[in-house]
Symmetry: C2
Subunit: 337 residues, 2 copies
């Protein structure tokens, strides 16, 4: 019979690893959401009974999550399965938890119903639903972990009195920037009413109501306002691909010059479509980002396509940081051409 | 920047493989449902434009599915990404597609919402939804591929006039048995109205209305009926774990003796809880089967627990087949003790 003693063929185990990857990915999201991943990061180990009692969690399900994580080396379970410790894969999984959460919690329904999103007659109307709360939580974590550190570095040489963040989401970045530059005022711009609500709470919690204002406005279709006149720094993260297709991207970037006539810097960061990646070489996030946007029929430009658009955009590249993770990601500091 | 040229650390790629496994698993289900997997099995290759035109599929999404499959070696894409061919992992993925479909299409919502199924206060009422159509399609494929061949072998020495299949589902197995034993009559028993409806259609399509009858009845709570009196062979597949916990299993098995007083054989096949499997050793299905049933709070017995129950069940083991895939699976032929 098929027992642990019996070794699977290499290909059969590789196939099982694919299957187990789906379960472990969901388990990472669950372990993060209930605080299990943070407890493992903090203490290096966790007792199932103790953790479950504190968190109000079902111990059997907590054990099942840990077994799923162990299948991908994220934790190792003790011999009695009463406790777990961080494994060889923990550091990478912890660092990239935002991508897993984006995929399984934010885009899980898209994956579940993927078979019904391929045929043309299924691809009509509002055929994709994502969990916008989960996407927002995931993107905040991704931005903090991978984009904020190089952004802070890049802003060391930039002076500004008023920063506007385009597509501000939860205003997490604006609050970080206001912390970083104590003399600076901020304006958060987002088209989503939900983002404005969440931002209000976050700004109040940070005690920054007097320094950060909010405007519900569509970044893809802006026109000048009195409050935009003072803005000398623009930031825009993880939404640049929404500017596309190409003609729209040129128009949107040019219009920023008119909408913010005193902007001296536009700092834009985003992830591009991969090039030259084949089969099992796909690193973290790339395949998820591209699969999901293809299903949603949203174009993702390559880095070369971005460069070509910038040449016509009314802006020129003053500085840049290329980002390793997520791959094919950039932060450009642009100045008026 | 992070390009294909730059090699990820081994652990970082292992972590990315976990993430990519979630996408590839959903892509296997989608590729099977739209006929792409069968076309690859038939022809060994597929042209994206041709397949999409024939299937009425979006070519960009078909390409995205193939890229996802390529990330796990199931296919390889041509240099222009206009066609794909079966890869080193194709045979295993094709053979086990029913497990992927069970997991991502049947239990996808459970995985998406897994973070909200761990805390006790979330685990009340009807907190798990699965796609019963997808589960039924998946289980039919799993039974046909992995359980029917040893079942046929095991029945070579068995004579019967009337077979009753407990938890008959789509009646796929009953139709197979009626084909195998042309002199035999069949009775399909299932508690689900949907199963009875699907069965009626399948039996009519097979032209077997005069040989196979259907009874909507709860296998966990049967009592004698006139039509049960003639049954001399009972079959029961992939539902034995529903008999548990232990006391219920003993009661249910004993009651089968009374309900079917002329049964000379009970052939029961199911998958057990694994023992002695640790971390990355988890083979196909085991982790999914156990995670899902733990979340649903449904007990899965081990093989030893089954053996111990059989000793008290009023039946004794006359013959058995152990099954390698899914691991920890058995078919017992039992006779009245």
């Amino acid at each position: 019979m098929g027992t642990a003693e019996q070794r699977l063929s290499e290909e059969a185990q590789y196939c099982a690893d694919t299957f187990n990857g789906a379960i472990a990915s969901a388990a990472i999201s669950a372990a993060w959401e209930i605080g299990l991943l943070d407890e493992l990061e903090r203490a290096g180990r966790v007792g199932i009974a103790e953790f479950s009692a504190t968190a109000g969690a079902d111990p059997g399900v907590v054990r099942a999550l840990l077994v799923a994580l162990s299948s991908r080396r994220i934790v190792t379970l003790g011999p009695e399965r009463t406790e777990a410790a961080t494994g060889a894969g923990f550091a990478d999984a912890y660092r990239t938890k935002g991508f897993f959460y984006w995929l399984t919690r934010g885009c899980g329904e898209l994956l579940t119903t993927l078979p019904a999103k391929v045929l043309e007659h299924d691809r009509e109307g509002d055929f994709v639903r994502r969990d916008s709360r989960a996407i927002s939580v995931a993107c905040r974590n991704i931005a903090r972990t991978f984009f904020d550190p190089p952004l802070r570095k890049l802003l060391e040489t930039v002076e500004c009195t008023t920063v506007a963040d385009l597509g501000c989401g939860s205003s997490d970045r604006l609050i970080m920037l206001a912390d970083l530059m104590p003399e600076t005022r901020g304006i958060g711009i987002d088209v989503a009413a939900g983002a404005i609500t969440v931002s209000k709470e976050a700004i109040a919690a940070a005690g920054m109501e007097d320094r950060i204002a909010l405007v519900q406005d569509d970044v893809l279709n802006l026109s000048p306002r009195d409050e935009y006149a003072d803005v000398d720094l623009l930031t825009c993260f993880l939404m640049g691909h929404d500017f596309w297709p190409r003609d729209n991207a040129v128009t949107t970037l040019r219009r920023l010059r008119e909408t913010f006539p005193n902007a001296k810097n536009l700092v834009i960061g985003d992830t591009c479509r991969s090039t030259g990646v084949h089969g099992p070489e796909h690193g973290m996030f790339t395949l998820g980002f591209e699969t999901v946007h293809t299903v949603m029929d949203q174009y993702i430009p390559t880095l070369d396509e971005w460069s070509s658009v910038l040449e016509e955009s009314g802006w020129r590249i003053a500085d840049r940081r290329m980002i390793d993770l997520p791959a094919f990601s950039f932060i450009y500091r642009l100045t008026p051409a």
